[in-house]
């Protein structure tokens, strides 16, 4: 059963009973709140361990202790959850909402650790990265042509920053939050740069007669 939940924004959403109990306990004083915070930390730690564990195979050389990383991720997630408690609108279970903070912290921490000390390639020539694909044996002429056009348009249409972000993220496989940290910006801002670059490329390729949808003009 769902019942109305008053948020501080003055909007009314609904939340299941268990979620309402979580909110009440976390907003209480004294031992009741302390117990709820400890219980929440336990859930966040479980989520962080889950995330770090599922990446074990892809991060064999991860520095530091994985459980320390999980603890740090859970600690950071707890701070975030408590700070954003009033933004919970009851559109999912409270625990699902809280888990996403722990998973995000753990994923970002793992990716940053995995790339610590590694050079992030930022000045790669797009054609050098696309040429192998274009020249592959049996590659149909129209595919090779599109790849060549794509490399040309990456060089011709994009700003240096758009080119840097697009090539690093989509061709070199640099995680976007690792790149954001190196460029001292946010993941969201970098994704907008990537989105704008992709839009330019789609329009350019469509203008050259390739069967590519121009893409949405909507701003992110």
């Amino acid at each position: 059963m769902t019942v109305p939940l008053e948020t501080t924004a003055g909007t009314t959403a609904t939340a299941d009973e268990a979620s309402r109990v979580w909110l009440r306990r976390l907003r209480a004083d004294g031992p009741e709140r302390d117990a709820a915070v400890a219980e929440l930390h336990g859930l966040l730690l479980r989520a962080a361990r889950f995330e770090i564990g599922r990446r074990r195979d892809s991060t064999p050389h991860l520095r530091g202790d994985r459980d320390d990383l999980a603890q740090q991720s859970a600690d950071d997630a707890l701070v975030a959850v408590l700070a954003k408690l009033d933004s919970f609108r009851g559109e999912s279970r409270f625990t699902t909402w809280a888990y996403k903070f722990a998973l995000l912290e753990a994923a970002v921490n793992v990716r940053r650790q995995a790339w610590q000390g590694r050079e992030v390639p930022l000045e790669q020539d797009a054609w050098a990265l696309l040429a192998d694909h274009a020249a592959g044996p049996g590659r149909p002429a129209e595919e090779a042509e599109l790849l060549r056009a794509l490399a040309e348009e990456i060089e011709a249409r994009l700003t240096p920053r758009q080119r840097k972000v697009l090539v690093a993220v989509t061709l070199d496989g640099v995680p976007i939050d690792v790149l954001a940290e190196r460029l001292e910006t946010t993941r969201g801002a970098l994704y907008k740069t990537l989105h704008d670059a992709r839009r330019k490329l789609r329009v350019a390729l469509a203008d050259r007669g390739f069967a590519v949808a121009p893409g949405s003009e909507a701003e992110l």
Partner: protein
Amino acid sequence: MSQPQSDKDGYDRLIARVLGPAEVELSCEECFEQLDRYVELALSGADADREVPGMQAHLEGCPACAEDFRSLRDLLTSD
């Protein structure tokens, strides 16, 4: 000579990775805001893509958010 299917798949993935989705998509911030609701809707069998327009396109375009989606979905189904 016909093109091996795996090579065609690799080409399609490369083009999709570079050009991203053509549809309207959410931003990373909007994706994170809606992620818990979207995952619960998807797991309940509801039409999550209709309820949260732009999410599917964003998950196709943003590898990091797609990982966050898979992690939350898998965590909830691991119980």
